[in-house]
Structure formats: structure tokens, C-alpha cells
């Protein structure tokens, strides 16, 4: 191994250093080129990405909630309004040092709240919730302290405002239903947005909104009523403090909705049912517009706006009369004899009967070859009956026979043509479809085969058949329109804003009811007229002295199954087992302007209980043009409005 010379040579060392320094310089260049490459990736390739992140850092959207649209009846009576509500909020950062310890801490807040309590009383719950919230929120953003300040509290605070830096009095709009329970089911209510709502809505659109339509029109037309949220785009620093405004987009208020309801008629319907459980539906046959949709008992939707108290909610839920339940849409009842005109149309169409066909009614019906007696409501029988008498006198035997000979398949199919068995598609949520039974349904539901006896019962609207008051009114309107079906609707039109023109919605025409011969309509309607106006009609007392010609049909639905030969004796039965009283009708016959269905739960006979109510509704709508009642109703509304404050 050759030892190197240990004599230092300046030149060699200089050369060695120079070569090392050169290599080092190259490494320096390469390393810094790597940094340049990195910067290129960040600043040129990643520019868009990092610009977005940067904007996300400093840009903040502050939503401005739109004013919710108002709801009016067809005559401009206000049904849902927004009223100002005052709330107290605290911005922690603006709260001054209260205990002079030169520090602004949560302890200062406690002192502030104590001082504030002497001006505006704060409940323990309000303070507790506030303290929970304030810890979580940015110190620069307001935290809610107290809602719904009284006028007195607002005044007291306003006077003392200067002493409470950081405490803000804010004005908010809150939903308010001046008519309270009148049309409450239909108008519905708004409530606080909950977890379930959050999953279904556009969070950005609802960023500044606290309430959302929960039921009725409020829910069905949430989109129209809500409007468009505006926003202010501000620059904020890392601590969330606002620096300046970058952009501003004002909110667009929701549409004002004009319902087809005539609130005077609605009020009339509700007062007619007062003390009962029941429903009245009135439809304008030509347009499908719902004039009244009463379900009694009702509830005050204002209770729900600010979150109903546990006690109130429990009371509503446990009320045996079920006020939360909208009978007009959700109540499924045996339609009983009210559907005989439609059944007659089916029989005529299928040529099972014809207008002058007569049968002999001994007071009961027997399926050929069977012993079981299907009893007529008239124990002695109607004797010889044709179609007119069968409808006017509501002869059960006639329709037992008709249904039996027609068979369930054709029967069901034809009745579905009137809208039975499925929701009408009215513009309100949670509508029930009732039940139009078929053999397949029975097999599926009960695992049993369809018996001919089932068909016989269906013939008089009993058995498995269930219909809602709305379906009955809709089917009656269809008869009035001689088969032309129009979807029932509660929204008549809308205005983009107050003072803007009213946009009226077009009626939605559905498939017509098929008829072999259009004269069949006249035959059936004549029978319905004779229900009201003939000496033998079941509702002749209600049709007496009417100023217009009306057509109708009574019905009495059994709630309690009677034994083969037992008699129905109302006085011996508990009220809840009494029959349901039903009635359907329309008027005037030549130019139908109103179709009505009435049901009074456990109200007894259709002719005695339900028909008179329908007559009063029709009188109210068709006569006097409300001259007196209008005034009366408006007075009542005015009184209610004042009381609601």
C-alpha cells in the first residue's frame, strides 16, 4: 500500500478544493431546482386548487333568510302571516370586562347575565341553553339568549341598551296563524327544522332559515313559500372577525299563496260540526277547487311554531277525539249508501240494470241457492222498485242484486274510475287512499278467498270498502260534471309579491268515467234529485223549500256489526258504536257550483244528521251570497284575530 506523500502541496490542495466546491455548487443547483419544481407544482399546477382553499379560508357566506310567503283564502283573508318577534343575542367579543380583572372571560358573561336579568327576566332554562351554546360558537358570532320578548321587555331593554355592550336586540319574523284552528288542518304549520328535515333539504338554501313547513299547505308548497335565500359574502380573518363585504345578494321573498278555500264557508262547516267528530268537504265541480275542507275537532297550529310543549302535545295525542287527525283526508270510512249513484252508473254501464228495470224487494236479499238473508234497511221492504226509487229510497236489495250480478272485478274497476281506492292527488300531504277491495287484495291481506257475499255487501258501500270524505266529495263532483274528473286542489293561485298579479292555476283534468250512454247520467242524477225533492226521497226534509234544485244521497254506515236478526237501537248502544251519518250532494243540478260530502262520526242516520248540514252549506254558498253571513263571519274572524295576539 503506497503511503501518500505527507508533504502539503498548496497547488494540489487548491485543486482538490476547487473540484469539491464545483461538485458542491452542482448539488446546490440541483437541490434548489427541486425546490423550484415544488414551487412550480404549488403555484402553477396547483394554483386553482389553492386559490379555492384560500377563498374557503377567508370568504364567508352570511345567509339572509327570505321572508316566507303569506297564505290567503280565495277572498283575500289572511290565513298565515309573519309577525315580528324580538330576541336577545350576545356577541361575546363585544362584552366588556365586567369584574375589572382586565380579562374578558366567561365569568364576565355571568355577571352580565345577572345584571341583564334585572331588566329582562331570564329563565333558568334560557341561561343554561345559552351557556351551552356560547362555548361552542365563535366569540365574534351572536348567540341566542332569549326569544319572544314582550313589548315591555323590549322597551326596558331599549332604554338600558347602552349599559349592555355586546347584547343585541334582534327583530325576527315568526309564523303566525291569525285564525288559529280555523282551516288549521289545511293550512298546516311550520316548525323548527329538525334532523330529518336536514337530510331532505338544500342546506345552503336553508342556511339562515330556522323553520320549515311541517304539514298542510305549509309543507306541500314549502318551495313556493320559502323563497330564495340571499347572502352577504364577507372577508374574515383567521379568528372569524369580519373585515369587509365582498358581495351581496338580497333574498327573494316566498310567493304569497291564494287558496281555493272560502274561509267563510270553512267557518260555517266547522261550526256546523261543532261538538261532533266529523268532516265536511266542499268542492267546486267545474274546477276541482276545494271550497271547504273541515275536520272537527281541529287544533291551533300556532302551538307548533315555536316547538310545542310536551304537555300540549301529549294532550293533543291522547285526546280520544284525535284533533291532529285530518278526517277529511285521512279518515277512511265505509261510504255506505252514498255511493249508490256511482254503483248505479256501474250497473248501467255494464248493462246489469237499465233505468226502468224493476225488482221486487221483500226486505232482504238472498244469493240464489243460499239461505243467508242480506237485510234491507227497511225491514218491510220497498216492494217494486225501479232505478229512480232504488236511489231515492236507498233500496239496499236493488244494489245487493246489482253488485252480485256484476261481480267484484268489474265493480272494483268501475269504482276506481271514480277515484276510489287511491288518493285523489289533492295538493296536501298524508292523504289516505281509502280501500277499494278486490279478490287479490283480500287474498294478500287476509289470506282468504273472496266470497260472493263480500260482493253483496260492497254493493251498498259496506264490507271492506273504505273511502275518505274527500274521495266522496270528489266522486260526487264527478257525477255533477257527468263523468268529467278534475283533480281536487287547495291552491288556487299565487302572487310573486304583494301587489303583483294573481297567477291562477289551471284545473288538472283526469281520465273521465266511461259511460256506455250519456243519458245514464241523467237517470242517476234524477234519482239523486228525488232523494231531495220527491215525496219518497230519504233526504226530502233537507231538500224542502230549497231555492235551487239539489241532488244528493244519504248514507248510514254501520260501525257495529249486528247479528242476523237483531235490531239497531241507538238508545241502547254506546255513542262510539252509533252509526256514522253520511251525505253527498251537489247543487244547482243544471249548473253545479258546489259538491259536498258530510260525515258525522257516530252521528246516527245520514238523512237526519248529515243531510241538513249539507243543505246549510249549500244555502250558505248559493244563497244570499253571504250578505249577512259574510259580515258575521268577518266579525268572528276579527274577534279571533284580536284574541290571537
Amino acid at each position: 500500500m503506497g503511503e501518500r506523500l505527507s508533504i502539503k502541496t498548496e497547488r494540489d490542495e487548491q485543486q482538490l478544493f476547487n473540484s469539491r466546491a464545483t461538485v458542491a455548487a452542482v448539488i446546490v443547483l440541483c437541490a434548489l431546482l427541486a425546490i423550484v419544481l415544488r414551487l412550480y407544482l404549488l403555484q402553477v399546477e396547483g394554483y386553482a386548487h389553492y386559490t379555492t382553499l384560500s377563498e374557503k379560508n377567508y370568504q364567508k357566506h352570511i345567509p339572509e333568510p327570505p321572508t316566507r310567503g303569506q297564505i290567503y283564502d280565495r277572498n283575500g283573508v289572511l290565513l298565515a302571516d309573519n309577525e315580528p318577534q324580538y330576541v336577545l343575542e350576545i356577541v361575546r367579543d363585544r362584552v366588556e370586562d365586567q369584574n375589572n380583572d382586565k380579562n374578558r372571560t366567561l365569568a364576565d358573561l355571568d355577571i352580565l347575565l345577572e345584571r341583564l336579568d334585572k331588566i329582562v327576566p331570564l329563565s333558568e332554562k334560557e341561561v343554561r341553553i345559552f351557556k351551552q351554546q356560547v362555548r361552542r360558537r365563535s366569540r365574534y358570532r351572536p348567540t341566542l339568549l332569549k326569544e319572544a320578548l314582550t313589548e315591555e321587555e323590549v322597551a326596558m331593554f331599549a332604554v338600558n341598551k347602552a349599559r349592555f355592550a355586546g347584547v343585541n336586540l334582534q327583530r325576527r319574523m315568526q309564523r303566525y296563524y291569525p285564525l288559529r284552528e280555523i282551516a288549521g288542518h289545511t293550512v298546516g304549520y311550520v316548525g323548527r327544522i329538525d334532523e330529518r328535515d336536514l337530510n331532505n333539504l338544500d342546506r345552503q338554501e336553508y342556511a339562515g332559515t330556522s323553520h320549515i313547513g311541517k304539514s298542510g299547505i305549509e309543507a306541500a308548497y314549502e318551495e313556493r313559500l320559502h323563497g330564495t335565500t340571499g347572502y352577504t359574502k364577507v372577508r374574515v380573518d383567521a379568528h372569524g372577525q369580519h373585515q369587509d363585504v365582498i358581495a351581496h345578494e338580497p333574498p327573494v321573498a316566498g310567493q304569497n299563496l291564494i287558496l281555493s278555500l272560502d274561509i267563510r264557508l270553512q267557518l260555517k262547516a266547522e261550526s256546523l260540526l261543532k261538538g261532533e267528530r266529523g268532516a265536511i268537504v266542499a268542492i267546486e265541480p267545474r274546477t276541482g277547487e276545494v271550497l271547504a275542507l273541515a275536520s272537527v275537532p281541529a287544533f291551533d297550529p300556532n302551538l307548533f311554531v315555536d316547538g310545542i310543549s310536551h304537555k300540549n302535545y301529549k294532550a293533543l295525542l291522547s285526546d280520544p277525539d284525535r284533533p291532529l287527525y285530518n278526517r277529511a283526508l285521512q279518515g277512511a270510512y265505509p261510504p255506505a249508501s252514498t255511493i249508490k249513484p256511482m254503483v248505479a252508473m256501474a250497473g248501467l254501464h255494464e248493462k246489469v240494470i237499465w233505468p226502468d228495470k224493476t225488482i221486487y224487494d221483500p226486505g232482504f236479499y238472498r244469493i240464489p241457492g243460499h239461505r243467508h238473508r242480506y237485510r234491507d234497511w227497511k225491514r218491510s221492504g220497498h216492494g217494486m222498485v225501479d232505478l229512480d226509487h232504488a236511489i231515492a229510497e236507498s233500496c239496499d236489495t236493488y244494489f245487493y242484486d246489482l253488485a252480485y250480478r256484476m261481480g267484484i272485478d268489474k265493480f272494483s274497476a268501475y269504482m276506481q274510475g271514480f277515484g276510489f281506492g287511491k288518493p285523489t292527488g289533492i295538493d296536501l300531504p298524508s292523504e289516505s287512499g281509502g280501500l277499494m277491495p278486490t279478490p287479490e287484495w283480500k287474498q294478500r291481506r287476509h289470506g282468504q278467498t273472496w266470497y260472493p257475499g263480500d260482493t253483496v255487501n260492497i254493493g251498498i258501500g259496506q264490507g271492506y270498502w273504505l273511502a275518505t270524505p274527500l274521495q266522496l266529495a270528489h266522486a260526487t263532483a264527478t257525477v255533477a260534471m257527468r263523468g268529467k274528473r278534475i283533480r281536487p286542489r287547495v291552491l288556487r293561485g299565487y302572487r310573486e309579491a304583494k301587489g303583483k298579479p294573481l297567477a291562477v292555476l289551471e284545473p288538472e283534468i283526469l281520465d273521465s268515467v266511461s259511460v256506455a250512454d250519456s243519458s245514464h247520467w241523467s237517470a242517476v242524477i234524477d234519482g239523486m234529485v228525488n232523494v231531495m225533492h220527491s215525496s219518497y226521497g230519504t233526504a226530502r226534509r233537507s231538500g224542502k223549500d230549497a231555492a235551487y234544485e239539489m241532488a244528493g244521497k244519504t248514507g248510514t254506515a254501520q260501525v257495529f256489526g249486528l247479528a242476523q236478526n237483531a235490531r239497531y237501537d241507538a238508545s241502547k248502544l254506546e255513542k262510539r258504536l252509533h252509526d256514522h251519518a253520511l251525505f253527498v250532494g251537489f247543487a244547482p243540478v243544471e249548473n253545479p257550483r258546489i259538491a259536498v260530502s258530510v260525515i258525522v262520526e257516530n252521528g246516527g242516520g245520514g238523512s237526519s244528521t248529515a243531510a241538513p248540514l249539507a243543505r246549510k252549506i249549500m244555502d250558505a254558498y248559493l244563497l244570499e251570497k253571504y250578505n249577512q253571513e259574510q259580515q258575521q263571519a268577518e266579525e268572528e274572524i276579527a274577534v279571533l284575530g284580536v284574541r290571537g295576539d
Binding site: 502539503k8 469539491r20 437541490a31 404549488l42 403555484q43
Partner: protein, 370 residues
């Protein structure tokens, strides 16, 4: 000529300064001041204090540029020895800040590691100056021990980052002294085998986690990852031309932490963009090149090794800081040289450049005037 107006001794002092390097340093200081003004939310106070730092640094540069290599060499051992003693004193009686014991109180808080940044390369350059180069293996081992001692003392403070940087400045001397490429290759190979082995077999899970976070800070967005996340946003959103001076959202809206100290490069990148970054790095490269150039013109081996090592150390600071701020290197507290706010770093670096200038071979003409 101005030169004739000055007294001869002042003229001689000024002539020792390398005008090219000083011009480049001044440009960097000026640009740094401009950036600092923006980074400090337009604070004149901060700017003034930084000016004072540079003033002191300039005086130090002027003084050290007068010292010839032969003179400095005589102090190397003493400085190194004093540095070691002070480092031991720090461990025994130092001031503790943020959980680390790095300072000695001598009227002001003084960080002995800062002295070591200059003393260690000096010591090693001195050690190799009378050895035959390339160095023998035994010389290298002794040199490594000389590096290891202060490095160990600084790790104990604990300050791993500074220890590594100081050790690297020593390794640069060994490299420039001409250590065999085989040894360098072997060392790198051993290192690259040992590190994964240690990572997978010798470390606890939590240690491994810390190493991973160090190299991938975005795993920990609450802690150091937040710095890197925000500084990447700042640099990236600067784009090609930058948002403009005083227009950086990230820095002016407080999203960027430590924006006038260690992370000032992100402020620069945000406001002056890719173009600005290229120019800035170009200026740094020029300064490093000039330092190496002066080193190659050194009076003797000591001068060359010391000036070369200090120039390369300057580069390492630059690389570690820009690499950290742009998110490719782990977060260690290294300022952007001569731009970040902070007196100690500026005075040390200016002193280093004074030393570099002093290492340059004297031309005969000056000696003739003596």
C-alpha cells in the same frame, strides 16, 4: 475619487469587503425588509428593529472581514473550547423556554449554539489546515468526534434541528477537505439501510407516528400540520405573478402562523408569486456561488475550508427553510436566511459573511502600502 477622501485606515477596511457579495446581501436585506413589512401587517416598528439587526450585522461583517485567516486560525481552538463550555453551562444553568433549555442569561439571553455555528467549522478547518489532504481515516474519525461533542450537547437541550445543522456544517468541512468519495458513498449507503431498519424495528409505535407526522404534517392538521397546510395555500394561491405586495390574504388575515419569522417565505411566495420565487432563489444562488468563489480564492487551506463550509451552511439553511415552508421537508425551526425577522440569526449570518470575506487572499498592493 471618494476613496481618496477617506482616511487610509478606513479605506483599507472598506477595501477588505467584497463589493459584489455585499451588494447581493444588501439587495436580499432590502427585499427581505419589504416582505417583512407586509408580513408584520405593515409594522414600522418591526421594520426598524430588523434594520437595527442588520446594522449590528453589518458592523460585525465589517469587523470580521478584517481578520486574516492566520489570525482567525489561532482563535479557532479557543472559540471551540469556549463554545463547548457554554453548551455545558446551558445544560446546567440555562434559561428554559417552551420546554427547551437553550439560553444563557448574560444581560441578554444568549444562545451558545449560535456561537457553535461559527466555531465548529472554524475548529475543523483549523484541524485539517496542517494535515495532508485528502485526510486520512484517523483524521476523519477525530473530526467526527469534534462534530459529535457539540452536536450531542445541543441534542440534550433538546434541539435536534440545530444540532443537525451544526453537524452538517462540520461535515461540509470534512467534505471540502477531500474525504474519499468511497467513504461518502459508504456512509450514505449505511445511512439509507440503517434508517428504515431503525424505523421498523427499533422504534416504538408512538415514535414512528411522530416521524410520520414530521414528514407528512398534514396528518396532524391541529398541530404543525396546520402551519404547513396554510403555508402551502399561501404559496399556491400566489400563482405565477403573486397577489401583489401587501395583498396576501393568507398573511394579512392571520391564517399563516409565524408569518414574519420562519414562514416568511410563504408570505413572499403569496405576494410575489412563482416569478418572485425564481428571482429570490436566483439571488440566493448568486450569494452562495460568490461565497464559494471567495473560498476558492482563499489564502490557505483553513481559509478555503472555512469559507466554503460557511457558504454551504448558508445554502443548507435556505434549503431547509424553503423545503419546510413548501411542505417537502419536516418542520424544524429554521429561519429564511437574512429575510426572517430575528436578530441572532442575522448577526450570525452577517458575521459568517464577514469571515468569508476576510478569508480572501490579500493582494500584494495592500501589503505594499503597509
Amino acid at each position: 475619487m471618494i476613496s481618496q477622501l477617506l482616511p487610509p485606515y478606513v479605506l483599507r477596511m472598506v477595501q477588505r469587503i467584497d463589493p459584489v457579495l455585499l451588494a447581493a446581501l444588501s439587495l436580499l436585506a432590502f427585499w427581505g425588509g419589504v416582505t417583512l413589512y407586509s408580513a408584520s401587517h405593515e409594522s414600522i416598528r418591526v421594520l426598524n428593529r430588523q434594520a437595527v439587526h442588520f446594522g449590528i450585522g453589518l458592523v460585525s461583517l465589517l469587523l470580521f472581514s478584517q481578520i486574516r485567516s492566520k489570525t482567525l486560525k489561532q482563535f479557532a481552538v479557543w472559540l471551540y473550547g469556549a463554545g463547548i463550555i457554554l453548551l455545558i453551562l446551558v445544560l446546567l444553568a440555562g434559561v428554559t423556554k417552551n420546554g427547551a433549555q437553550r439560553w444563557l442569561y448574560v444581560g441578554i439571553n444568549f444562545q451558545p449554539a449560535e456561537l457553535m455555528k461559527l466555531a465548529l467549522p472554524m475548529m475543523l478547518a483549523y484541524y485539517f489546515s496542517d494535515k495532508s489532504l485528502p485526510p486520512k481515516l484517523s483524521d476523519i474519525v477525530i473530526a467526527l468526534l469534534l462534530i459529535g461533542l457539540p452536536a450531542f450537547l445541543i441534542i440534550e437541550q433538546p434541539d435536534l434541528g440545530t444540532a443537525l445543522l451544526i453537524a452538517i456544517s462540520g461535515l461540509f468541512v470534512i467534505y471540502l477537505a477531500g474525504i474519499s468519495w468511497w467513504l461518502i458513498g459508504g456512509a450514505l449507503l449505511a445511512f439509507s439501510i440503517a434508517v428504515p431498519l431503525m424505523f421498523f424495528y427499533a422504534m416504538h409505535d408512538y415514535q414512528r407516528q411522530r416521524v410520520l407526522t414530521l414528514f407528512n404534517p398534514e396528518m396532524d392538521l391541529q398541530g404543525s400540520g396546520y402551519h404547513i397546510y396554510q403555508s402551502k395555500i399561501a404559496i399556491g394561491s400566489g400563482g405565477f405573478y403573486g397577489k401583489g405586495w401587501l395583498e396576501g390574504d393568507q398573511s394579512h388575515l392571520d391564517f399563516l402562523p409565524e408569518r414574519h419569522t420562519d414562514f416568511i417565505f410563504a408570505v413572499f411566495g403569496e405576494e410575489f408569486g412563482f416569478v418572485g420565487n425564481l428571482l429570490l432563489l436566483g439571488l440566493y444562488i448568486f450569494i452562495i456561488w460568490r461565497g464559494l468563489y471567495i473560498a476558492s480564492k482563499g489564502e490557505d487551506t483553513f481559509a478555503r475550508l472555512l469559507a466554503g463550509s460557511l457558504s454551504l451552511t448558508f445554502f443548507i439553511y435556505l434549503l431547509v427553510n424553503t423545503g419546510m415552508v413548501s411542505g417537502v421537508l419536516p418542520v424544524v425551526g429554521v429561519p429564511l436566511p437574512l429575510v426572517s425577522y430575528g436578530g441572532t440569526s442575522i448577526v450570525t449570518l452577517m458575521t459568517a459573511f464577514g469571515i468569508i470575506m476576510g478569508m480572501k487572499k490579500r493582494k500584494r498592493i495592500y501589503q505594499a502600502e503597509n
